[in-house]
């Protein structure tokens, strides 16, 4: 029987290592990823069904249905970057392999959501605003986020030394986080063509709000499934490369 934690530090250490030990992570993520995928499928189908039942908006007509996929994508591009930034911080401070793998795994997913947010926003904006694009604060800051994601992935790929790549990417990941409050408050700080916050302020009618909320949760759950899968892939990749290096060293000594 192990001695109970006698200090917060001991308790925190035990708590963190419970979830960040790679072997333990691989064990719980094995069922965690499919569970998140199942939740995403159920919520996604429910959200889409409610969305297609929703009546046309008196101003937007049926283009209101683009919001059901645009708003979740827009939330996710920021949420994923927040996850990347937290993982980057943990990687930089604790030099933990799993934190670095998590940050690396999140980047392509975040870039994909950002592309979706921009593209679906553009497809909504053309009939509503009469233009595919406008250089207003919200759209420009989200485009900047996409460029930060691309820069993060390019930086990682450009450095052969994984330790240096992890450190450099983590620093970039943390610096890029300054863009998150800029995106969020862009519609408040500047005169923006993009509408202001409407989901949390109750400005969205319930018949549209429910599909949006269900699809936001579906996207988050789907991201959870994909993120866990990609972190597991990173762990296998690093194990494979370590084993290959050992084999090469053994062959060289023989």
């Amino acid at each position: 029987m192990t001695a109970p934690a006698t200090s917060f530090g001991n308790w925190w250490h035990a708590f963190v290592w419970r979830f960040t030990n790679p072997d333990r992570f691989m064990r719980w993520s094995r069922w965690g990823a499919p569970l998140f995928a199942a939740i995403a499928a159920v919520l996604g189908l429910a959200g889409l069904w409610l969305g297609f039942l929703a009546p046309p908006d008196y101003q937007q007509g049926l283009t209101v249905r683009i919001l059901f996929i645009h708003i979740p994508a827009a939330y996710m591009c920021e949420f994923v970057y927040a996850c990347l930034a937290v993982a980057s911080f943990l990687s930089l401070v604790f030099k933990h392999m799993l934190a670095d793998a998590a940050a690396q795994a999140a980047a392509p997913l975040g870039a994909g959501f950002t592309v979706l947010a921009l593209a679906t926003g553009s497809l909504w904006g053309r009939p509503m605003w009469g233009t595919w694009w406008v250089w207003d604060a919200r759209l420009t800051s989200v485009l900047a986020l996409l460029l930060i994601y691309i820069a993060y992935m390019a930086l990682r790929a450009s450095l052969d030394d994984e330790t240096k790549a992890a450190r450099a990417a983590a620093i970039l990941g943390l610096v890029g986080a300054v863009n998150l409050p800029i995106i969020h408050y862009s519609v408040v700080w500047w005169n923006s063509l993009h509408q202001g916050t409407s989901v949390v302020t109750g400005k969205l009618a319930a018949v549209y709000l429910w599909p949006v909320l269900l699809l936001v949760l579906a996207y988050m759950s789907g991201f959870g499934a994909l993120w866990l899968t990609r972190i597991r892939t990173e762990v296998w990749r690093r194990r494979a490369e370590a084993a290959a290096l050992r084999a090469a060293q053994t062959a060289a000594r023989a």
Binding site: L62, I69, A119, L123, W236, R237, A244
Partner: protein, 51 residues
């Protein structure tokens, strides 16, 4: 006044969203299977070599 037909915007938006999710899922599962197999092969060689 006849209502506008916005299907030229709505369907591509949903189509692009579906495509991105398919790419996400396919690329994640393909890479996972490849590296899991590779890691298992190399770990097996490690064990046979007595490491």
């Amino acid at each position: 006044m006849a209502p506008h037909d916005y299907s030229a915007y709505i369907w591509p938006a949903y189509g692009l969203t579906a495509l991105v999710w398919v790419v996400f899922i396919a690329s994640s599962l393909t890479a996972a299977r490849r590296w899991k197999k590779r890691a298992a092969e190399l770990s097996g060689k490690d064990e046979r070599a007595g490491r």
